[in-house]
Structures are given as structure tokens and as C-alpha cells.
Amino acid sequence: MARNAPSASTPARSKAIARRQFLFDTARMACGVGMLGLGLGLYARQSKALPAQALRPPGALPEDDFLGACIRCGLCVRDCPFDTLSLATPEVPVTTGTPFFTARKIPCEMCDDIPCVKACPTGALDHGLTDINDARMGLAALIDHETCLNFLGLRCDVCYRVCPVIDKAITLEVLPNTRTGRHSMFLPTVHSDHCTGCGKCEQACILEEAAIKVYPVALAKGALGRHYRVGWEEQKKAGGSLIDEESMVELPDRLPEGMTLPGHYDPGSGATAAPGAVPAESQLPGAAAAPIPNAPPGMGGPAVPSAPPGMPGTVAGPVPSHPPGLGGGQ
């Protein structure tokens, strides 16, 4: 370069100096740009942490792939008829320029023709998604049992009502209301087999802060151990018991200390509690009003008291005794 030292006496020496200079210049450039690259790379890593409440459009690839495939053109935003989607601006904690929506503000309306996916020029939104019911933008979770009105024993049901996949993605599971002892609780229950994560339930939740929220599937969904088999499912598949029922040993029921269930036969002890022999204070609340199952629903006990005929959510059949979606068979 132009910085050849004038003192270079021989051509060989000046060549050596030029080579040194070239190496220094190259090293400086590589280090400077390398540092910029390091910073950008770390930023890129951070940018993969999508906030739990920011949902991607239907058909979006997993976040890792999405950030490589999406070119931030906004065509999905443009073709969304409900203005659900927006492109992230730099101050939003979503990777700049990428499309997202916030369920509580504007949920996905689940268009039949999925225009956002069709508009995508890169496959960041998977063009293989042709049935919007197969979309998995997230998974709704009734996250707060303390404030959900249905958990308080009321009949809000709004999330259930607005669900586009009603009775499949959200069902109302009926449990006895042990607080009043004479009512039922209709608990909105999300089923991951059918929930698309559209966010209508979260948007519609009447609470000041929604009790039901849509989260990325990875956050909202548990997973059974892979070796796990759910007995009753296996039983159903096999068409009968898988064990020798004859040699089953009945164990005594384990009830909280001092508690008896009037009229209940305990196969373990062979005794039946006398209906009138129980001190009132040790009875379960509401025990006199209704027969008590010998085990909590969901733990292998008999079906919980079914809802009165005509109740929504119960017409499809008997209430399952375990949370649906627990696929025992693999």
C-alpha cells in the first residue's frame, strides 16, 4: 500500500514491509469485522428467544428455522384480512421485521384459505399447511385456576363458546362443586390434539387479565415419559384386562385421618361405614347431598356425576375419566 517506508533500501526489503503491512491490515479488518460479527451473532442468539405471548402466523416453522427462512417482507401481514399480524419494530422484543400477533389484542380468525401462508414467498410459513385446523400457532392453557370464573363455580364459558374448534379444542369438564356441595363446576379444558393456538379464547376471556392464555406449544405442553403406558388405554386396545384380575390384592382405601365416607364399602377392610355413624364435622362438604365417588375423578374412579341432560359439552358422550390427550398408546 501507500505506506511503504521510504527507508526501504532494497526491493526485497520493501516487499517484506509491504507484506507485513498487508498482513496487519488484513488482521485488523478481520478482527474488527469479527467483533462486529460476534456481537451480531450474540444478538441473533438473543433474538431467538421469542416472548411467550408473541405468536407466529399459522404454519410458521419452529422459531429456529423461522428466523432463517423469513425474509421480513410482510406479505403475510398484507394478506391477513383481519389485521391480526404485524411486523416487529426494533423496540419490540420480537426479532425485528418478523410477523407476529398478540392473541389478547387481535387473535387469528383461522381463515379457511389461509391467505397469510399462501402469500409467504419463502416457506417460513409452511405451504404444506392447507387445513387451518392443523395449524399449531401455540397451545391455550387455562393457566389461572384461582380467577377463572368457571373454576369459581360460575358459568362464564366464554372461552369455550368462542373457540372455533368448540367441543374439541376446549371442552367443559364437569366436576362437583365441593364448596357448595350441591352444584357442578364446568371446567374449560384444552385439548392439544385440536387446539390451533388461534387465541380467540385468550382474547375473549372476560377477566381483566386473561386466565386462559396461548403459549408456545413447548411451554404449554407436558410430556409423558416415553416408556409410559396409560393402563386404561392399553386395556381398551387389548380389549380386556392385561393382568390377572383374580390375583389382584385390594388395599384399604386411604382417606384423610378421621374421615369416613357414609355407606362406602371398603374392599380392603371388608367394612361398610354406617350411614349415620359419622360425626358431621368430618364429613366431606356436601357429602350428604350427593353420593361420593370412592376416588377422585381422573384417578380411576367411576365417572363423575354427569351434567344434566342438554348441558353443552356433555352431549357428546360420557365425561372422560382422565384428561383427554393422554395418549397411552404410542
Partner: protein
């Protein structure tokens, strides 16, 4: 006109050719930049959807896809190829800019060009002289870094901070905080480094430079013998190093065409030259005229 005004860059050209002819290419360029931006804005502002999308990818009249090849290349480095329309868009854009000069994108389309040109103009008007030094090749290093970085991180890396897409997308889809990044580029060019962003750092420009490395449409200096060394072209050019080999290369046997890929084909040199030395021409039209030998013998062809 006062004497002071006459020393201003381009004033000779204005005196010789009139204001309009001395700003012809600048006006055409600004008109193009704003017309393109206007087309993009017509949808969101007026509901007339001629063009959807932004500079990364757009879809015009539901028939013409245009994809930014640099963004698509970064995406490809992460292992994701576009859909058919996206690929067609890449081909169209790549062929177009190959023909008209790769960095015609920079000077005729890119919205940041208006920002940095304004910074450059203000720098001249305010007489800001000092400038941090950074080699012009830095942008090629940044370009390589973004491509390798995309492959390593799996993220379209430069789009995380690209002021070009942030500004363009911001204008069309909502600016948010992107104005701060654009302002930073403006202030950087104005106070820290003359022609710093477009001329030294921006990998988008570097990419388009390479794309137009052998573009047929180039600025040429057919009348270089008439050059009166007023230096206005060097003053106004965002990449002044590209001018010299052609303008002053006659003695070294260099042809009159500006071959350097960094030239943005902005045509500003054509505007400000009172002697009409420059004009747009073909790359192949590069034979040194016989008997032309008044150039600078120190400048050998191929340098820069």
C-alpha cells in the same frame, strides 16, 4: 451571483448548463426513489394495492415478484430456499441490476441513500473536514461476515440491524424505533465518517457491487480531454476513487469507462461537470481514443 457562491460544488455546471441540466440525474434519481417508495406506500396509505411487501420481497399487481437477492442469499446460507415466486423474484432482480449496474440499487432505489446523500451534502455545506478512517473494502468483509454469520447462527443475520430494510419497512409497515437507527446512520456520516455508511460499511451495497461487477451500463468519460480539473466530480461523488482511473487514465492507456464496481451509476458527476465530460455509456465502448494523451501518466489502468 457572489464569488463565494461560485466556489460551491457544481456552480460552474449551473452557470454553463443551467440549473435544471446541472441537476438532471439527481432529480431523476430522487424522482425514482420517491416514486418507488410512493408505490409501496400507496397500498397502506390510500388502499391502492399496486405493490405489496417491501424491498426484501414485493409482489406487484399480483404478477411480478421481486426478491432482494442479498436477503435471499443470507436465508439460503441458513439452509432455507425461497418458494417458486421468491426464486423467480431473485432471478428478475439479479438480472435487472446486472444490466443497469449493481449499485444502481444504492443510488436509484435505496431509501438510505437519501439519508446519507443529505448527510454528505450537509457535511460539504457545513465544511466539516475531519473524518475517521476506514478502508472502503470493509464492506466486503462485513458482507462475508453476514453470510458466514447467517450460516452459523441460522438467522438472516444482517436483517437484524439492516438500516436499509428498517427504514423502508418502517415507512411502509410502521416505523417504531427504527428512526433512531436511521438517525444514527445520518449522524455517523455527518460527523464521524464522510460517506461512512454507504461507502465503507454497508454490505448491501457491497453485494450489489459484486452483482454489477461486469454490468454493461456504466458511466463513461468520452470527453475527458476537456476536463479542466475543477474537481467538482470528485467532490460530489460518493465513491470518488472510481473516477480517476477513467478520467485521468488516458496516458496510461486506460479506456474512458468507469469500470469500478463501487460506482453507483448515480450520474451526479454528469450533472456537475461544466464541460460535459461524463455520460452514461456501454462498458464495451472502452477503447482509448487514438491520439488522446493529456491524461495523468501516474495513473495506471486497473488500479483501484
Amino acid at each position: 451571483m457572489s464569488a463565494a457562491a461560485n466556489t460551491r460544488v457544481g456552480s460552474d455546471a449551473v452557470a454553463a448548463k443551467g440549473w435544471l441540466r446541472a441537476h438532471k440525474w439527481l432529480l431523476l434519481r430522487r424522482a425514482t426513489q420517491f416514486a418507488i417508495l410512493g408505490l409501496f406506500l400507496l397500498g397502506p396509505l390510500a388502499g391502492v394495492w399496486i405493490v405489496k411487501g417491501n424491498l426484501a420481497y414485493s409482489y406487484t399487481l399480483d404478477i411480478l415478484p421481486l426478491t432482494d437477492p442479498y436477503v435471499a442469499l443470507q436465508s439460503a446460507m441458513t439452509g432455507h430456499l425461497p418458494e417458486t415466486l421468491g426464486i423467480v423474484g431473485v432471478v428478475i432482480v439479479a438480472v435487472f441490476y446486472f444490466l443497469v449496474g449493481g449499485r444502481a440499487y444504492c443510488s436509484w432505489v435505496c431509501p438510505v441513500n437519501v439519508v446519507t446523500d443529505t448527510a454528505g451534502w450537509l457535511r460539504r455545506r457545513l465544511g466539516i473536514k475531519g473524518s475517521a478512517h476506514l478502508a472502503r473494502e470493509t464492506r466486503y468483509w462485513v458482507l462475508a461476515m453476514t453470510l458466514i454469520g447467517s450460516a452459523v447462527t441460522g438467522v438472516v443475520l444482517w436483517e437484524l440491524i439492516n438500516p436499509v430494510s428498517m427504514l423502508h419497512r418502517g415507512l411502509i409497515f410502521g416505523m417504531g424505533f427504527a428512526w433512531a437507527i436511521v438517525l444514527a446512520v445520518f449522524l455517523f456520516d455527518l460527523f464521524i465518517m464522510s460517506r461512512g455508511w454507504c461507502g465503507r460499511l454497508c454490505p448491501v451495497g457491497a453485494f450489489y457491487s459484486l452483482l454489477g461487477r461486469f454490468s454493461p451500463l456504466r458511466v463513461s468519460t468520452p470527453q475527458r480531454a476537456a476536463c479542466n480539473d475543477c474537481m467538482d466530480c470528485f467532490e460530489v461523488c460518493p465513491e470518488p476513487q472510481v473516477i480517476r482511473p477513467a478520467l485521468k487514465g488516458a496516458a496510461g492507456g486506460a479506456g474512458p469507462v468507469i469500470l469500478a464496481a463501487a460506482c453507483t451509476n448515480c450520474g451526479r458527476c454528469i450533472d456537475v461537470c461544466a464541460k460535459d465530460v461524463f455520460r452514461f455509456g456501454a462498458r464495451f465502448d472502452n477503447a482509448p481514443p487514438v491520439g488522446e494523451a493529456d491524461g495523468d501518466p501516474a495513473v495506471a489502468p486497473g488500479k483501484f
